[in-house]
């Protein structure tokens, strides 16, 4: 599903600015992969490269069999429709309700109204927010906001879900709830790649762990632990 061939990414300016160095990895369909490592190790860069928010300085990246480096800019949105993204800061629109935030993701890719009115309640039911459809993000707890963000990322049934520190702002109990939800989504066949600092979650879930250090993949372990 995801393949990196000798991928490097460096930023202009400074001296030691290689965010990713000669990364090679193959992630299969339906896998759940944790990206671990200290801050600045290249986890977020890894995620941004998969979503083509950034381009690699070197190497090739394949998503669903396609070399995304060859995609022309007008095709990038179509790539992103197959990739859901969630973040530590949720990135919800405060002036829109829960239902409107989720519907927004379908509206802007031109889904018909009939599909939107069917899929939005269904996905909000799945993430456990059926009773909060008309609430605004500021009226929700952190865990609930992250569930909205997951609903928005998953409502279009993407092949891949990228999560950048999704539990970074949440307490441990709430984090467990979010991980259960991501696990459930993973079981539907969606490939999940999650960057995290949360040792407890990684050690409990025992999924594939890829460890980055200063931009280099130093460990790739099936059913791994945090360190």
């Amino acid at each position: 599903m995801i393949k990196l061939e000798n991928v490097s990414k460096s930023y202009k300016g400074g001296t030691n600015t290689a965010a990713l160095q000669n990364a090679n990895i193959d992630i299969g369909k339906g896998e759940f992969v944790f990206l671990v490592g200290p801050s600045g190790s290249g986890k977020s860069t890894f995620i941004r490269l998969l979503n083509k928010e950034e381009d690699p300085s070197d190497g090739r990246i394949f998503v669903a069999g396609k070399d995304i480096g060859q995609l022309s800019s007008w095709k990038v949105p179509y790539l992103r429709r197959n990739i859901g993204c969630i973040f530590q800061d949720f990135k919800l629109l405060e002036k829109r309700t829960v239902a409107e935030n989720v519907a927004f993701a379908l509206e802007v890719i031109g889904r018909p109204r009939s599909v939107i009115t069917k899929q939005v309640p269904a996905i909000l039911e799945l993430v456990g927010l059926a009773d909060k459809v008309d609430s605004f993000p500021t009226q929700l707890s952190g865990g609930e906001q992250q569930r909205v963000s997951i609903a928005r990322a998953f409502v279009n049934r993407p092949l891949i879900l990228l999560a950048d520190e999704p539990t970074g702002n949440l307490d441990p109990t709430t984090s467990v709830g979010i991980m259960r939800l991501l696990d459930r989504i993973n079981r539907t066949g969606t490939t999940v790649v999650m960057a995290t600092h949360d040792r407890g979650i990684v050690d409990t879930m025992r999924r594939r762990v890829v460890e980055l250090d200063k931009g280099t993949i130093v460990r790739d372990q099936a059913q791994g632990v945090y360190e």
């Binding site: 992103r80 429709r81 990135k91 927004f104 993701a105 509206e107 802007v108 890719i109 928005r152 279009n156």
Partner: protein, 298 residues
Amino acid sequence: MALKISYMLKETGTNLVRRISLTIAAILTISISLALFGSSLLARDGVANATQRWEGGIEFVVWMNPEADADQDAAIRRSIEESPAVASSTYVSQEEAFEEFREMFADSPELIEAVEASDLPPSYRVVPTDPDADVVVELGSQFRNQPGVRDVVFASEAIKDIQLQANRISNGLLWVSIALLIASALLILNTIVVAIGARRQEIEVMKLVGASNWFIRLPFMLEGLVHGLIGAGFAVLAMWGVRNWVIDGFSRSQSLALLEGLKVNNAELINRSLWVLAIGVAVGIVGSAFAVSTKLDV
């Protein structure tokens, strides 16, 4: 598709209303600049109509009698064409004179009804080699008493002066309006940049979930287009006002006999209005396209 169009219109409308003061500023600037631009075009048209028979250096007109016979006409033609003091001349037949008359009074069909081609005298419009007033008068006067000639009319200094001053004024207006048009485009550009800034979060989410580039860009482009179109609409209204009250007012004025011919007919006004609308739309699109291409990194 229906949802996409309604979404675009809704977003454009929200953007316009959300920053109403900027919207008004942009529309006012573009309408003032286009009103000046359009008025300068109308002034040109009016003066061109008023001085039509004196364009291209024509210094005097030899009016023939409609009843003049072919021999008389040939004699005059020969003496004009063979005169070394004449640079060029144009013969305007009765039909051509009637055609000009119809153009000039296109808005007064009753006047056109009342006149026939045979009522209008044919004429020779003469451009002398030397435009000096004394030379021209001497040359023109030679034809006055020849058989078949009804009259010889000279372009007065006043007409030449009107042409010169009107051209200066309309050129001045044109340059001022071009400067203001550039200001309008920049104002629209800044309005769109502010709109993009205010919606940065939404744009970020749209990009993440895979909205197409045009889907993100189009509401902003439409906003610029609406600025241009509404501004041009007001400018067109102002132009109709200028024609109906200012230009027609001059032509009705008894004290300025020379300005009686100052007229802009409906066809000319519609033509200029369409130009102004097209330029308004173009300025709106150019301003917003520039904002979108430089500030909206999709």
